[in-house]
Amino acid sequence: MTQTLTLGRFFRLSLLSLGALMFLAPYIFMVSTAGKDQSEIFSASLSLIPQHFAYMANFTKALTRVSMQNLLLNGVIVCGLILVLQVVVAVPCAYALAKLKFGAARFMMALVMLGLLVPIHATALPLYVAFDKLSLLNSYTALVAPFSISVFGIFLFLQFFRAMPDDLIHAARLDGMSEAGIVARVIVPNAWPAVTAFAIFSVVAHWNDLFWPLIVVTNQSYATPPLGLLFFRAAEAGDDYGALMAATLIITLPLVIAFLLAQKRFVEGITMTGLKG
């Protein structure tokens, strides 16, 4: 491929750069506005560098009105619990479906297919009524339990396990390993790429989810990051965009940093999980 800047390449690069600028604009304005004070924001200037550098004031407001540490911690706890449960439940099941013979396999596949079709939005009403009856609203249980099963996880691991050589498992059986031991010591270590991909998919999905937390949590101390941001907006009655942008920045940063550090894995994870949703 020639490295000379032909007209076509110049055109392509300009187009890509212009698009990139448009896609980055929200982030640029977020960082810029987080440092502006009220009067400068309301002067509606397009200047990106704040005149007075109100970063300290805005971040203090963002950190004190709603406990950001608590929100981020809740996000980590909820996403962590969900991920661990999903993997612990889905991996043995996928292994059984992929490598063991049993009568219920067809029935299981039907369940998985049904599960892939039914999102949380469809099951939310009965689940809400049930959690309400059990007085479990406003708890980590309510936030985590419905997602303990990921049919998508089963589906993804199943595809991955099917491609694994049977010899690996036979060898482990000859060594006298139990089936549970095989799952833990042979399957999981070999399935690491699939687990990572699934982990990224799961964490991104649940870190961002608003629908379910909005339904089961009214108490701020159980709020996840998106819900907490809604509470923060409600607490900021006026249009205090400086503080709002500071809060937005704090809440967006963890996942964005994770993405920038491991972007190859992120993109791989999303494509892999995207291949068959």
Binding site: A96, K101, L111, A124, P126, I154, L210, L230, F266, G274
Partner: protein
């Protein structure tokens, strides 16, 4: 003879043991699937035929009354229409942009990783948070977008505040958020196209890049495009976060979308029975989309 019988029963017990282990390994998943997917799905269908309201002790079966009410419910019809408009805008635009960007990145060796990262960034960002940023960008008087338009002598609309533009404002955010995802899937699809096909096409006299795209790239991307389309449509039908954060269905129900209406009826007004009927309609839409995808997939010609 005895030997054969013995080994036969040994195989049989081994088989039975294997089946038992399989059941054991799969049982937590089966149990949770029944509890959190199958039962609630059945429950939502049953509840759709009742007048159940949270907070009232008793309920009765009302047959198809909820569905009859849905047909004449202006809010629900509005909601279906808005969801359709939103989907009709976001899906094609985000697919075309995703494909276009993927093609540009693929053909341009420089800055490939950088551009991929930038366009993918919105997918990895908290949508509720970024929606707040968009609200500021869209602000009618102090927002950068309208300030910029004013420089060009255009007086920008009240994007999210006017019923005539709110769905377009939300669509822009939806497109911005989903292009990166589509792009990454298309990039994966493009890398999977064997290079030899392009050389073969060139030998056959396909010279212009447009013909190359029309004759090789586009047909080979068929399965990817179908998949991206399904995912995009389903995600658009599920639009909720931006509506909840920015417009709450307003102004004047102009951004009333399906999940928002269900949320309002079920979890704010607590009319669980009625909201369940809406949910059944929502589920039916998803089923139809899935069936369509499989029908297309069956008809798909595979070139590899």
């Amino acid at each position: 003879m005895a030997d054969i019988a013995l080994s036969f029963s040994a195989v049989e017990t081994a088989g039975r043991r294997e089946a038992r282990t399989a059941w054991l390994l799969a049982s937590p998943a089966i149990l949770l699937m029944l509890l959190f997917i199958v039962l609630p799905t059945i429950a939502v269908i049953v509840l759709g035929f009742t007048d159940f309201e949270l907070g009232y002790g008793s309920f009765r079966f009302v047959g198809l009354e909820n569905y009859a009410e849905l047909i004449s419910d202006r809010t629900f019809r509005r909601s279906l229409w808005n969801t359709t408009v939103y989907t009709a805008i976001v899906t094609p635009v985000s697919i075309v942009l995703g494909l276009g960007i993927a093609l540009l990145i693929e053909s341009e060796p420089r800055g490939r990783d950088f551009f991929r990262t930038v366009y993918f960034l919105p997918v990895a960002s908290l949508l509720v948070a970024m929606a707040t940023v968009w609200q500021y960008l869209f602000h009618p008087s102090i927002g950068p977008l309208n300030t910029f338009l004013a420089l060009l002598g255009i007086s920008g609309p009240n994007w999210l505040g006017a019923s005539s533009t709110v769905i377009y404002g939300l669509s822009i955010i939806g497109i911005w958020q989903s292009v990166g995802f589509n792009m990454v899937l298309f990039l994966a699809g493009l890398t999977a196209i064997p290079r030899e096909l392009y050389s073969a096409a060139e030998v056959d006299g396909v010279k212009s890049s447009i013909d190359r795209f029309r004759l090789v790239t586009w047909p080979m991307l068929g399965p990817t495009t179908l998949f991206v389309t399904t995912i995009s449509v389903i995600n658009s039908v599920k639009v909720f976060e931006t509506v909840k954060t920015l417009t709450e269905g307003g102004p004047n129900k102009a951004s009333e979308v399906l999940l928002w209406t269900i949320y309002q009826e079920g979890f704010v007004f607590l009319r669980v029975g009625y909201a369940s009927a809406m949910t059944v309609v929502f589920l039916a839409i998803l089923v139809v989309l899935m069936v369509l995808q499989y029908r297309f997939l069956d008809r798909q010609v595979h070139y590899t």
